[in-house]
Symmetry: C2
Subunit: 186 residues, 2 copies
């Protein structure tokens, strides 16, 4: 059974390294990696969020290859991961779609490299018993204030052991989903 | 302080999807992602293992760019991750180097997508109090019997919630290092 948790990977509005609001380009490997991680942990849906039509088309071409083209028979495992993927223009559309799916408002949980006091995996597991969640990850240098200034809960940042704070979003997604879905003490 | 744990990413001997022993090609993004994850968690060293000279040269070129070329000033955070990276021809060389570094034999711990009963993060943390460890990840479809048939301990595989068993090695590395170094209950 698929989880009540969905993931949204946001390409706009995000920050670049100069703290400017930009639309980042879709990265083929982000979609592959995060789709495979979502599929591993039973995540219900993976929204790729970009308002840029050309970027949406790129994602649709990738999906076409893996869902219906040569990739679907050459690598069926990849096909099954890509079945979770859908492009949407903005985060609100992702939330509406995920809310409709469960006939109740989905709660947004944003992620950040700078929120040591946020929710942890156990908190999210508890919420999932009652609610559907949309876990939001930013590309570039992270989600822009237009999103982070809203009253959303935040997942506890991955602090590592030093001051280095530059995990790839692909790695952060893997760690956060493991913390939510595995939830044992290691 | 850097950890007594090092990571080795093996490109030979590994299996392809037809269960044949091959040398896989080095993937630029594996090196970026795993180096950044290692740097986040304070991993001591990241060995890229390939006996193919041309492949070693590719890695050296990547390192040159990020350690001394344009990348070193354009993105110093990436530079600091790449300082952990070293190419070696085989796993035994990686173990020798890592053993020399700590003046004691490093223990090899292999990873696999098919070892539900292996060591967990807590076990590795306990071992690290006394020993230096070399955590070995395979590319392609995993480490070949030449390695797995030896008497090495194995890290518990990441099982997810379904029968899907196709995490990217980049994601598996992130999850395993988080389980070892974060080690709290989520």
């Amino acid at each position: 059974m698929l989880s009540r948790l969905a993931v949204a990977l946001v390409h706009h509005p995000v920050l670049n390294r100069h703290n400017e609001v930009v639309s980042s380009a879709v990265t083929n490997l982000d979609i592959h990696d995060i789709a495979r991680t979502c599929r591993t942990f039973g995540v219900g849906h993976f929204f790729v969020v970009t308002p840029v039509m050309e970027q949406q088309k790129i994602v649709e071409q990738i999906l076409e290859h893996w869902l219906h083209g040569y990739g679907s028979t050459h690598n069926p495992d990849r096909c099954s991961a890509f079945q979770l993927v859908q492009t949407v223009a903005d985060l609100e559309t992702a939330r509406e779609l995920w809310s409709e799916k469960h006939s109740r408002p989905a709660r947004i949980i944003i992620t950040s490299a700078k929120s040591p006091q946020g929710l942890n995996g156990q908190d999210c597991r508890s919420l999932l018993e009652e609610e559907s969640l949309l876990l939001v990850m930013g590309t570039g240098s992270g989600l822009a204030p237009e999103i982070t200034d809203q009253d959303f809960a935040t997942f506890q940042s991955i602090s590592g052991v030093a001051d280095y704070n530059h995990l790839p979003v692909r790695a952060a997604a893997a760690i956060i989903l493991d913390r939510i879905f595995t939830g044992r003490k290691f």
